[in-house]
Amino acid sequence: MSQGYPITIYKEPDLRRSSLVLGWSEDMGNLGRKVTDYLNWELRGEEFAEIEPEDFFSLGGVAIEGDLAQFPESKFYACQEHELVVFQSGSPGVEWYKFLNSVLDVAEHHCRVKELYVLGAMISFSAHTAPRQLLAVVNSAEMKEVLGQYDLARDMDYQTAPGERPTLNSFLLWIAQGRNIPGVSLWVPIPFYLAAMEDAQAQKKVLSFLDERLDLKIDFSDLDQKIREQNEQLAQVRSRFPQIDDYINRLESNLMLSEEENGELIKKIEDFLREGD
């Protein structure tokens, strides 16, 4: 571990050749948090370390979410039986390079991490009935080769548009490349009207890949049930509101909606799903 990095280790994990899965708490569709929560729950992840927040987050007060005061957390969990490390954190607001190196310091020096999996969600203008895709960006040709046997879109071309900045996931992948840690950034497109809610199908897509790749033997029955429930709720909205059904029909036919129609669809779906919670 580099000197001066604000890392607290509660307990040394017994890992020999592990993989690190990283998810950000405030992802679209809450994907990063949900997937890492699911892994920790299913695989009995045990918290063993954290990065202290004061160097990386604005601590001028607390954020309130869902009626509760929040505080930035950046925690590591070990699923020892499965040689898996889970890192769940808010996105740091400053000192990104130091923060991301701190993550990899813990991964390398305390967990002997051999591979890195970074989770991310992106907006999709497809309907929720379309199958979820999983896109992969890797930091080495070898990693791309290794991932060839999985159901991943692996040939993405992308360049930052003017006025935009790269994602934290790209930044981490780049640092890992410099440290010779093979890594992949996984991206799931989430229907825009579920971006502020949850997308159980997107969660399943990512988890299924991790399950297969890392041989985790996850029992997905509860997540499958959640997908069925969400699909039923969305079917109810469609049957109750013909206008919403029309919008979704058009998305299913690969047609674009106007900005106003997008807004109406988002509001109706969010209101309905919140009522159903």
Binding site: S58, V137, V138, N139, S140, K144, M156, Q159, W174
Partner: protein, 303 residues
């Protein structure tokens, strides 16, 4: 986090000319124009990753090929028997969403720039930025000069179109230079370098626009080249000035006529000798500022 020099040029008592972006990009355009005209050679950089968030990623066929950061580069050139080191920072290392650099990172970057200056036995530093002033965009911007040592004042008094803070109306020799263009001056003082910051005037009503202001860069460059005793071809800067000038004029015509009428009075502000219809009074100055602020608030923040 440090300095990377690709080569170690043989330099004799070089002068350092440094700049970062700021209001109207006045300083950086002046310095970068000079660097370009003199065809200065790149010889080093400050490693960026601890200071900056990346600005561009390139992914090809699913493989992350390249992550690009804002650059902070050193260049050198021998001209007229004089060695010049240029430092050009593409961004200021800001923290917590602030516009200009301040605090630990800014101090560290200023010191790294001066480490290179010291290594090559440089003792004189120039920085450059913007001076927000009650002036009009059709008048020639003056250059406000701030030295970090009393011994430099007689030299500055010999520059054309240049004023010391004590000569700025109502300032009494006081002011503030935000960001690294100012901080470098202070850190240079602490480390025993003599330094001068040259700030080109920008009209108060243009400071919030997302436009550069090359007219002021030209004023800065005229002073800088005089001080360095070198001749510089400013044709490219003139072209840029004309192009931006047209856009400023378009913007100016969109300002409501009653406010524009107030701003038009700034054309008649004269510093040495009052010209008709006379310099604006303090009360008028206050009213102009209030009208300008109201206008920009209505436009949603002035940009």
């Amino acid at each position: 986090m440090g300095i990377r020099l690709y080569q170690e040029p043989q330099l004799e008592n070089p002068i350092l000319v440094a700049s970062w972006p700021g209001i109207g990009n006045i300083g950086i355009i002046a310095v970068d124009t000079l660097r370009g005209v003199l065809e200065a050679e790149e010889f080093g950089e400050i490693e960026p990753w601890d200071f900056f968030y990346p600005k561009r990623v390139l992914i090809r066929k699913g493989i992350l090929e390249y992550l690009e950061f804002p650059s902070s580069k050193f260049y050198f050139k021998r001209v007229g028997g004089k060695d010049i080191i240029f430092f050009i920072g593409e961004e200021q290392p800001t923290e917590g969403g602030r516009m200009y650099a301040e605090g630990r990172k800014a101090f560290h970057m200023a010191n790294l720039v001066l480490d290179v200056a010291e290594k090559f036995k440089c003792r004189r530093v120039y920085t450059s930025g913007a001076a927000v002033a009650l002036t009009h965009h059709t008048t020639k911007p003056r250059v406000w000069a701030v030295p970090n040592s009393e011994s430099l004042i007689p030299e500055i008094r010999g520059y054309g179109n240049t004023v010391l803070m004590s000569a700025i109306e109502g300032r009494g020799g006081h002011g503030n230079i935000t960001g690294l263009n100012g901080l470098l001056l202070g850190v240079a003082k602490k480390r025993g370098f003599e330094a001068i910051c040259l700030m080109g005037e920008i009209p108060v009503y243009l400071q919030g626009l997302p436009l550069s202001y090359p007219k002021a860069s030209k004023s800065v460059l005229e002073v800088l080249s005089h001080s360095l005793k070198i001749e510089v071809n400013l044709d490219k800067l003139d072209e840029l000035d004309q192009e931006v000038g047209r856009r400023i004029e378009e913007f100016y015509q969109q300002i409501p006529s009653e406010i524009r009428g107030q701003l038009d009075r700034l054309k008649h502000v004269a510093y040495a000798q009052p010209a008709e219809p006379g310099p604006i009074t303090e009360e008028e100055e206050k009213r102009i500022m209030e009208d300008v602020e109201k206008f920009f608030k209505k436009r949603g923040g002035g940009g």
